[in-house]
Symmetry: C2
Subunit: 178 residues, 2 copies
DNA sequence: CCTTGTTGTTATCGACTGATAACTAGAAGG
DNA sequence: CCTTCTAGTTATCAGTCGATAACAACAAGG
């Protein structure tokens, strides 16, 4: 078995995907760079060399996740510029549980100045994007964002997404979300 | 200055209050037991002896926070059994930012089995309590919980509560929450 | 073929951190 | 006063984890 050699950019991409999974599972402080390295199939020091520092890797991961959310929203907006359409798009992101949960971990880690600033900026950007794409009223956009946060929290608690823990209250919530 | 000697129960209470602040700031994995000890004015090994383990201390902290939320809801429900009344009660909890943010850190740390189970159970309990106290429809209760999660996330991002980071999108969200 | 640049590794450090053990000290009861 | 129980400490370990440094291996161009 010959190890495939990739360019630094290609390998960084693979590490980033591994980072989404790992950070999504255990958060910023709770994830070891070694775990990410194992998932990506490289050594731990190489992960550090590619991204400089664990914090920078987490920031890159956060940006990646936000990019994907915005991309999904934009695509949905092109198809049909309504909140329902964007909501469907968000729901289709849910199966990749780690993706959205990385967001939550970012919010939670806002006490770190660099993370806090990044997360505030990206969240604001998504909020604005939703309004711009749909032209919905501030009240409607707020309700949309609130529902999104509830869904994200439920994903973190593993009552939504793949292999959900069965919970009566969870099914009741999901049924009454419209 | 003579050190005041307290009973184990009294000291545990002080440590628990310190734990709310510390865990609220840095989360489960990101908080060191030594930091909690410093805040409580005792030595780090004593914190461990009082609670057995860092995880158990975190679980106790989560229970404490959920108890306080439920207590606030119950009190508000006695005064006036409406969602608006409970919403006001939640807003009055907001100034103690760490309190609600501990919740968020609990959700985020759900990958740990013990924490996940605890957090699911308590969240379900709060959801049920809100319905029981107000008699509101499932749709209304869901919207209430969603708004609560958005507020909690905003508290974590430090755009609500004391000394908020000023953000246009944050003020817009807060104004359109009814 | 050999030099050079880039991908990737192994070895290792140094700081941290939860937990344990052993000891100290204040209070209560006789 | 003395014993005993509990509150609390200091000292310290054992394992972790991010980061650095030095080296190895593969590819490409001359």
């Amino acid at each position: 078995m010959t190890r495939t050699r990739l360019t630094a950019a290609e390998r960084s991409e693979e590490v980033l995907q591994a980072a989404v999974v790992a950070f999504g599972a255990s958060g910023y402080a709770g994830t070891k760079t070694d775990e990410i390295a194992r998932l990506a199939g490289v050594s731990q020091p190489y992960v550090i060399r590619l991204f400089g520092t664990k914090q920078q890797l987490f920031l890159a991961t956060t940006h990646r996740v936000c990019d994907r959310v915005e991309e999904a929203f934009r695509r949905a907006g092109e198809r049909e510029p309504t909140l329902d359409s964007l909501g469907d798009a968000y729901n289709e992101l849910l199966p990749e549980r780690e993706l959205l949960v990385v967001l939550l971990h970012g919010f939670a880690a806002s006490a770190d100045p660099a993370i806090g600033e990044t997360v505030r900026s990206r969240f604001g950007g998504i909020h604005r994007l939703v309004g711009d794409l749909t032209g919905a009223s501030p009240e409607e956009v707020t309700k949309f964002m609130a529902t999104g946060m509830l869904l994200t929290v439920m994903a973190a608690m593993q009552v939504t997404g793949p292999n959900p823990v069965s919970c009566e209250w969870a099914t009741e919530l999901l049924n009454s979300m419209g």
